[in-house]
């Protein structure tokens, strides 16, 4: 069962991006959904863009930079498996592995 992110030190923790596909303005790219990476750094809290986009007051959400290997993202077809992609993902999109 997926465990939610806890608000404590999470550096280098393994996390998975949730695979959900809601039809609206979100900032978790599709190519990262369902993929596992590690927390590269915590960035603090920011207004949830999913609420701001529709003209609503936004809850503050924790934001993290998460690092993924190309092998994780693209499998055997990866150009260079050890290269990485870092992306900023909000904590409600992440679950502990």
């Amino acid at each position: 069962m997926a465990r939610p992110m806890a608000r404590r030190s999470v550096m280098a923790e393994r996390v998975r991006v949730k695979a959900m596909m809601p039809p609206g303005h979100v900032r978790a790219p599709a190519y990262l959904r369902g993929k596992t990476g590690i927390i590269e750094r915590a960035l603090g809290t920011f207004g949830n863009p999913e609420q701001l986009a529709y003209g609503h007051a936004a809850e503050k959400k924790q934001l993290y930079r998460v690092r993924f290997t190309m092998a994780e993202l693209w499998g055997d077809g990866a150009e260079t498996p050890e290269d990485t992609v870092d992306a900023e993902i909000y904590d409600h999109w992440l679950e502990k592995v």
Binding site: M21, P22, P23, G24, H25, A30, L52, Y54, G55
Partner: protein, 113 residues
């Protein structure tokens, strides 16, 4: 019946694509004005960058293929201002016709000629 995997058109990371077009252009005055209105109105709290992005995404892939960057951005700025109630579509429609009546070029269509 149709189906989709749920990926939205603007969410381009990892899709196949060809060579990157490397030509650039210098921004026209009207484009710089669009950019300025976007920054100023956002700064005044009339809309958010998130609302601008959402409107761009909702325009669909066709708009991305057919219209230039700042054509889509003025459309998004307008969409957000309409939603904010800053002006009405009636006011905008009247004003756009008034602009067209002034002259056939961008220069001629300015209020001060």
């Amino acid at each position: 019946m149709s189906d989709t995997d749920g990926r939205r058109w603007h969410d381009m990371g990892g899709q196949s694509a060809g060579e990157i077009p490397q030509e650039g252009h210098d921004f026209a005055l009207w484009e710089k004005r669009v950019d300025a209105l976007m920054v100023l109105c956002g700064g005044k709290g009339l809309f958010t960058v998130d609302g601008l992005r959402r409107a761009l995404e909702d325009m669909g892939e066709d708009a991305f293929e057919k219209h230039s960057y700042y054509e889509r951005w003025i459309a998004s700025v307008n969409q957000n201002l309409i939603e904010a109630g800053t002006y009405s579509l009636e006011e905008l429609g009247r004003k756009m016709d008034e602009v067209a009546d002034r002259g056939a070029t961008y220069g001629a269509a300015q209020r001060d000629g």
